[in-house]
Subunit: 297 residues, 6 copies
């Protein structure tokens, strides 16, 4: 269960309105790597975490913080839109810079949102749940979290360079700092998982004996040129301390032809009948079902 | 430019058809972390890479390999669907296990694909371009690549446990191995970026002086309980070797009220007029435009 | 079955072209609350209505009208795009206002639609079927219809303030009037459902005895401050004439910890084994299936 | 800013696992009318509300409650999936009821979520931001909120009839009750808006003089049969107390032909040249730009 | 403007309910090639058609027919769902075939639609506006229409083979016939466009002199093996009667390296500085703007 | 399996940057008819093709070429963005043409892509897998391929008219030529299918005896006016050489009322009980299941 306080985690007051920038900030709200993503990602990771204790508590701490980040950004967007020429007509605007501002605005912030933020990115595409990763495997998910905070800090840094407004920059300095901490934090959490003996370097920590180990050690040189042979990834032992790393300079396919089986005639795939069905039991409906069931039992 | 050979990178032959499993394999083709994602992600990263040399060559090597992985999986799906009871009628099927198989199948593999794979995930949702990350910042992107390979290996491992078919398992052993190598490889590439002095631990390697350093060091304890104080992330120096890490046990909001400005009357947001517009210039359309332009010039 | 007449329900002739406005009008065509939504929403409601008679006839009357509204708007968009500088090159345009117009246009109206309307909203996002609600419960659906007409009239009113063109305004005056009638009409239809004794105030008119009545009467004060205690919703009897309404000033959680069960080891969720599976039957695959089947039979 | 307590708002413990039902419950989490929708809808409405005081406080109270509802449902889903046959192979399952259960499960809850809930609906489609309405106009938005709670209670009631599990039913009895209160509450809030003189019956409370009043009063009988003439909506005064209501029995189109203008030749729309461009200024690129600019200035 | 008659274009009465088939039929309603697509595609093509006369009349005839096809299918779905075990609990169902039926049903048809059709495809993915093509070029669009009717008839034929119900088959025999006529019709319309001298064989009928004619005549053999040299497409004159057709057996790239320019340092793309910006004017922000403006003016 | 060469299929060097045009070019990358679509469409068609030989080889030749087309366009976009004013602030820009350029740019190319191309269309909507058609029926798919190349060439031709840059035009001249060849090629492939006796004129080549032949021959005149009677589609024999073609001038519905069955009371559809369930067995849950099972067995 959650509680809300009316105050913002950090101040979000621009000195001046800037409706073009208000559109760009939507990327940090509803973009693939925006605050809605980390909010929902951490919430679902926390709810799906199967161990009570420090990991779950950590995830829920950050998840709860992120809801407040959406709040800060939504408030900033509303303030940047104050006095926006949203209802000026194209015809009335003689001033060319003003005309340009109108062209660069997000029309939905006015038509749909009445001058407020929307759960969209900077191109107006709505946020969606496929941005969320919550697999239950904490190593795999913390890797995704590091990536999310890295992309988030990168986009914030780019947006920091797109404004001169001291108030906006002040808020972004806070956001940048939190993204710095959160990157460090998820990296530390990965170290902690290893220190606790719960996870290793690679996810999942399983099936290393089952997999074809001989194919777990080399780069396939499938793009011409061999510059890639010069990297750390093509020599020595991998970061997991277990697998050798090398390169296959002239890789050949290991499999056979990429051919599909003869089609089911009732589905009308184009077929010349040149190949016989590989199994006589497949030649009729009864047979198809028979073979399938045999496979199953 | 690309070339194609007719043979598969690795063999993809099931011993028996299994249409229910053919649906599940769609997750590895068109899911958020499937092979279409890594194909397109690495292609766009390679095309957007601004440095000729070993990094770009590496990325293009792997990108080119991944197209072939979609090919392997698509071929496997077609073979698993051989003899599927796709055109049996519900009414005709008296056998309860067969009826259950039909319920668990992906109806579009028959109706839309004619017995073949589709660019969808296991729930039929189409793959989309927002799954791709190619930011131009190699550290941030390699973090995303490690995450992608970790989630990919995790899902492959789960699917490995959902079949008994020796042919399917044989292919998945190859896929698992490649995901092992690729995780190691992207981790090594992150080490290489640091060794080359191009990137650091956190992305982007910039604005550390500008950001509010005092907020870059602590966990905010916003979920009740203090279990999270026990982790590596709340003590010592961060993995970047630069920032201290601690915890704010009872965090208070640093900002003011989350209040929006008075609305533009022409947008018909509900308003009681209790607050005066903060700036008299905002009370009319002329004034709004005036203030905005002043902010701009 | 449907018939079409070549004439528009109402005239749709702008005095002048205005390609920037043509983009904004897309919101009324393919936006979440645009005419495509009400068209499809009312069609599906009508087709799914299980009672012949006045309700079904009403829904089909309005559904059929709405197809014609999409037609009016699509025609208007094509006319607003007449003479648009869609094929001028950026380089050739020296006039700054013209340049701004080009920046504010929807590039797909030219590249994809050849100078015509598209089934998209004003940000280019395609209309989709999840905007439609047709639940079979007429009260719940008429509530959604009132909301749709209210949002539709609101967006139309905003767009009315964004143009000076007498021809466009003339058409919008018709649209506003129809939205006025349709709001009144769906509100009247809700009254009629009650008068006919088919539905009540709340949907669905069922399970009031089964639900926990003690939790059907109060606001939980989960956001700091108690301003919300001053409203009609926190005192007296509810609009349904049956439930008292109050407030829980300091709400406490009623449930236990939000903890998940121990994970299935074959799915590789991170787990430290600190909690024993709560039921010994869950410790192996056989046991899992056993418990599940027992639950089922 | 938000805080989190580790306990659930209400208990969420099933007596038995039921993975098929776990899939259906996804509709209440990530469906168009699920708890993610009301969470985000109320959050954005609250953040975009321009009046401090009882309305904003009310909206934030409910928004904060709804986050906890997602939490309850996600926890319930994880518990319903305990012991699910997610990693059984099709081949191994001889029991037909178990096979049917496997066919009815959501494969992504295992492959993607590791046995947990996902931000999707019951068909696996991800939640998206276009489900949210936050227009700034409180009457229009409260209408949408009544609709959301009505659809939510309706879907909950249907799901209540799809389970026999006393633990699940216990939680749903709480959810039903909250939806009852929330419907009453938003209806009361609409009454309050009128009592406060801020809004009327129809949204927005504006442009009634500008719109074509003669078209704001009648049903157009566009679907054959005149059953619809019998309803409350075709007689007397509308619920707004202002507009008469009637019917146009044999409606004729009021507009002219739905014809588009001659196309821009550089966009290659098919054209026979039979119609001359209506304005000589449109015959060349210069002319097109000229006319457009004239319209603008 | 449109009118509606209460009767169906053709009868849609199944002999027996079949809820599993009701799910499959959704593909013909809201699938990429379902009736909603052709409805909206033809409506937008008609509204965007710039020539009054036989083509526009034809398109609107068919568009209007297709709305009625959605109506037939939606009615059929509701009837197939009569008596569906939508509200039976998993636990109560002991009969394995019934359990399998429940697994194969679309849960949203009950939970969301109350036992009716939805604007979705057979996997529950909502229909969307990007399925529509209405480019204004009639040849290009009629090609798309032939494709749509071919895919539509193909899917209908597959579904015809998935049922034994005489009533369902009766309706599908009508649908198949209409798809036969519509394929023939759009093919005839392409012939008519040529006969009228409005369009040719290839779209658009322009820029044949500007394009690099030497690259308009040959297949590039980029997939190993030369089977493709045996086809009609690699010899003689093309169907347009104008271009020779051949094959490039060992194609070599014609362009230079796929290298991007040095990045903007303020966007933090990873860069080693090894390449100098190609133009000194690009080394600073001023210079960048300068170069861009020069390009523009 | 695939290989990559570092060189582009054709050169892609603009003379000058043009960030507004860089946005428009996204349509050719990630639009519904862009190069990502034909890449994935042909790959899936090739992988799903059931006949080894010239058709499969052809499809894979073209599929492999198309990957290289995405590469050319992505490279062009990066070069057009060189020196783009992506990090200029709105405030700093006094030059109105520069301001207009900024308004017309795609903000995500900077914020998300760091100055590179994205897998989106020109409105920022991500590419998705529903654009792909690969049905297994080669005639139906080749029809879709002709349509794709026609729309692709049409959009390319429009974009050709939107730039003056000789370098961009040079690349587009190559693209136009390839689209010319590919249209001819797929048309020739359709001829080849017929010449080989594998497919006919209409798809699928089946069920012509089963379908209602009397409805396979006429246009239904459902839009007022009889201009459509003048076309080739309303007289003589169809292009398939088999079906007569005519017109039904005053079409009447052939079916009965579009009425749904009485609803399942447990789903709470609104119902007045006026119609008795048509079958007494439907009055209770047992009965419903009974009827359904009877239908099935």
């Amino acid at each position: 269960m959650f509680h809300h306080t009316k105050k913002l985690q950090f101040e979000a007051k621009p000195e001046q309105p800037d409706p073009v920038y208000a559109r760009k900030l939507q990327e940090l709200i509803g973009g693939a790597w925006g605050e809605m993503t980390v909010t929902m990602q951490y919430l679902f990771q926390g709810w799906n975490c199967r161990m009570e204790g420090k990991y779950k508590d950590l995830i829920m701490d950050i998840a709860t913080e992120e809801i407040g980040h959406v709040e800060m950004l939504a408030t900033m967007v509303a303030r940047l839109l104050e006095g926006a020429p949203a209802t000026e007509t194209t015809r009335a605007v003689q001033d060319p810079v003003m005309a340009a501002v109108m062209g660069g605005m997000d029309p939905q912030q006015a038509i749909v949102g009445g001058g407020g933020a929307l759960p969209n990115d900077s191109q107006g595409v709505p946020w969606n749940g496929r941005y969320v990763i919550a697999s239950g495997n904490l190593l795999a998910d913390f890797r995704a979290n590091v990536a999310a905070e890295a992309q988030g800090r990168l986009q914030t840094a780019r947006l920091y360079n797109m404004t001169d407004d001291p108030g906006v920059k002040e808020m972004l300095k806070f956001n940048l700092a939190r993204d710095t901490y959160h990157q460090n934090m998820w990296l530390a959490a990965i170290e902690q998982l290893k220190a606790d003996g719960i996870e290793g370097t690679l996810a999942p920590n399983a099936l290393f004996d089952e997999e074809h180990r001989e194919h777990a050690t080399s780069l396939w040189n499938l793009s011409e040129g061999n510059d890639s042979a010069q990297g750390r990834w093509a020599q020595g032992t991998g970061p997991d301390g277990d697998h050798e790393m090398g390169i296959v300079e002239n890789p050949e396919p290991l499999g056979g032809p990429a051919a599909g089986p003869p089609p089911d005639p009732k589905l009308f795939a184009t077929y010349d009948g040149s190949e016989q069905p590989r199994d006589p039991r497949l030649s009729g409906a009864k047979g198809m079902v028979g073979k399938l069931k045999e496979g199953m039992s």
